[in-house]
């Protein structure tokens, strides 16, 4: 598969169809993968694809990266879940279809907890089937895009995986647990987690759908939200981000993976996605022509009648 990927990358660079390939490479110790930007055909050997390729590289297609844009025509190595983000960016006018060459890769799931995986690989921890599930991201257990849905080139063998009818995994279990809580316990659960927030904004920076050039948290004339890392400020930030992603988040899980304070951001964002699914029968990231519900005004299709 890697050979196929590298050959395609070489072909794209040599033919001038792409000036830069945004993909995955190894770090020095081959313990983690890290984003690479391949500009020359002789460097395509650096491209890899494996279970550790967890990053959602679509963030490098946003306007937050003018220097990547300036490199010329962009091609990107993307898993099905990453392509969902590219689709949302297209539906929101951030990216035109012909502005990026999507090298879709079929995928068997990626490792969420890379350190736990490393210990299992080198034999220092016993990796039973159960732990394997724990280090694989929840999104992977429910993935319906292991065969990527929007590509210019498709790499890898067809996956025969069918996702379960009802979503499974840690995130959904946790959502069910929280739904059973009363409002006081819910409040305490979230305030407990938000109290650890250090306002590093890794959740925002790693997200390709947080593409605003000036985030509301950085606006200080007037200052809309408190930027201090006290409980009020942390609550304000985390709620605002959850609201801004409602109906847009594709559950790529990057925010939770990036969070140095281990705040369960997937739980809050996925809960919002479930709500959007119920209210608008909508799932983000599948059709670039369909707009996210929160930016559409369409009273005719409202299934509730209380506002008419």
């Amino acid at each position: 598969m890697e050979k196929q990927l590298q050959d395609k990358a070489r072909e794209l660079l040599e033919s001038g169809k792409a000036d830069v390939i945004i993909g995955y490479g190894w770090n020095r110790d081959k313990s983690h993968t890290t984003p690479v930007f391949i500009k020359k055909a002789e460097d395509v050997g650096k491209l890899v694809f494996n279970k550790l390729c967890v990053n959602n590289l679509s963030v490098y297609l946003t306007r937050k990266y003018p220097d990547v844009y300036a490199m010329g025509k962009r091609a990107i190595v993307a898993k099905g879940c990453d392509i969902k983000n590219i689709v949302v960016m297209m539906s929101e006018g951030q990216l035109k279809r012909d502005e990026v060459h999507i090298i879709g890769v079929t995928c068997d799931g990626v490792i969420f907890d890379q350190d736990a995986w490393a210990k299992a690989e080198d034999g220092s921890a016993d990796m039973g089937a159960e732990l394997k599930d724990a280090v694989t991201a929840t999104k992977c257990h429910n993935c319906d895009v292991r065969n990527p849905h929007l590509t210019d080139t498709l790499i890898g063998d067809k996956s025969n995986f069918t996702p379960p009818d009802e979503p499974v995994g840690f995130v959904f279990d946790k959502i069910k647990d929280i739904e059973k809580m009363d409002s006081r316990d819910k409040w305490q659960f979230w305030m407990g987690h938000f109290s650890r927030c250090i306002k590093c904004y890794a959740c925002r920076q790693v997200c390709s759908l947080c593409y605003c050039e000036r985030c509301i948290s950085d606006k200080n004339m007037p200052q809309w939200i408190e930027t201090s890392a006290h409980l009020r400020g942390n609550l304000a930030w985390n709620l605002i981000r959850a609201q801004h992603l409602t109906g847009r988040c594709t559950f790529c899980g990057e925010c939770e993976r990036a969070c140095p304070a281990n705040i369960p951001l997937n739980v809050i964002n996925q809960k919002m996605s479930l709500v959007m699914g119920e209210a608008f029968d909508y799932k983000s990231g599948y059709d670039p022509k369909e707009h996210p519900p929160m930016i559409v005004f369409n009273p005719d299709e409202d299934k509730d009648d209380f506002i008419k």
Binding site: D29, K64, S228, A229, P260
Partner: protein, 339 residues
């Protein structure tokens, strides 16, 4: 001479005794899904012993992420400004690592440089640092490559070494440390037979030459070189590395509140944010992310060492561990050392 011993079971007494005297006790604690942090604890059974280094350093104890430095009141008689007089209680940091202890010196250099920042120094004066030498580590640890040893005493008041039985041998480093042992003599007992100490973890030695890195960075031709964009283009511009870092010390002053009452706060800031150097005119001298990353590297290995004798980087490896895109500072150090 027989060595002083601190029994693990006596930590309960120590925590209680410090609390009784009005002090606070900070120690590593498991706070969420495998994350260990230095936090204020009330009981010794909260202490976590199985950790490499906690997520963030203990700089929060004397350089809080957010703190009030002044208050304003606006009433019909006019505006009154009220300063904040700190009178911090004793804070005992237990389970510090030698890299973190060393970083106290680095912060001290900054906060006592051209201005004595009492919000820092008063807290530091009231702090007792009890370090536990490293018996575990990982591939991100690189203290020996920046001239620190995993059982260094610098910056600590007491250095503990874990014994095979789980207790600790105690080495008093400073007068503050000696006085603390005297005060708490009920828990620092004298062992007749010195127990066997655990083997100190030796991190791998990187192929780096700090002097060469310093020279490379001083050469202005290298400032605009391709290396920075090539190696740091993937930086996503979050503040994780700077907030986890024990020696990063930048802060911002912000006013928060309403019309009648306002607080002036000193908040951590990060050179990785694009807002950090944005001028009022709209011009930003560090207009690309790799330039912000270059700044952090320059700060650790050129700007800081140019001003102070203490260390800009203590090799704790936190920035390597937390980086969402695995932009590894040691890879850049090696690249420049080999250039």
């Amino acid at each position: 001479m027989a060595k002083k011993i601190l029994k693990r079971s006596d930590l309960t007494k120590l925590v209680a005794s410090v609390g009784k005297a009005g002090g606070a006790f900070v120690a590593p604690k498991a706070v969420a899904n495998g994350l260990v942090e230095y936090v204020f604890i009330k009981k010794a059974d909260e202490i976590e012993f199985d950790y490499i280094v906690p997520g963030k350093s203990f700089k929060e104890a004397n350089f809080p992420q957010t703190e009030v430095v002044a208050r304003f009141k606006n009433d019909p008689e006019g505006v009154t400004v009220e300063g904040v007089e700190l009178n911090p209680p004793r804070v005992v940091i237990f389970g510090a690592r030698p890299c973190d202890a060393k970083s106290s010196e680095s912060l001290n250099s900054v906060f006592t440089w051209d201005f004595i920042d009492e919000f820092y120094t008063k807290r530091e004066d009231a702090m007792v640092t009890i370090t536990v030498a490293c018996t575990t580590g990982d591939n991100a640890c690189f203290c020996t490559s920046v001239g620190i040893k995993p059982d260094d005493t610098d910056g600590s008041d007491l250095l503990l070494r874990e014994t095979e039985g789980g207790d600790f041998t105690v080495e008093a480093v400073t007068d503050k440390g000696k006085a603390f042992i005297k005060e708490e003599k009920a828990v620092f007992t004298e062992g007749k037979a010195t127990p066997k100490e655990r083997t100190i973890f030796e991190p791998r030695k990187l192929d780096v030459d700090l002097e060469k890195i310093g020279e490379y960075l001083k050469d202005t031709d290298h400032y605009e070189g391709d290396l920075w964009a090539d190696m740091a283009r993937k930086c996503i511009g979050c503040g994780s590395c700077t907030y986890a870092c024990p020696t990063c010390h930048c802060f911002d002053i912000t006013d928060e509140g309403g019309f009648s009452e306002t607080e002036r706060r000193k908040n951590w800031d990060s050179c990785q944010f694009d807002f950090f150097t944005l001028h009022a005119s709209g011009h930003n001298p560090r207009d690309r992310q790799y330039k912000r990353w270059r700044n952090r590297f320059m700060c650790k290995f050129n700007i800081y060492p140019g001003k102070f004798k203490t260390k800009g980087c203590v090799g704790c490896g936190r920035c390597v561990r937390v980086c969402p895109v695995r932009l590894d500072i040691t890879e850049v150090m090696e690249e420049i050392s080999g250039a």
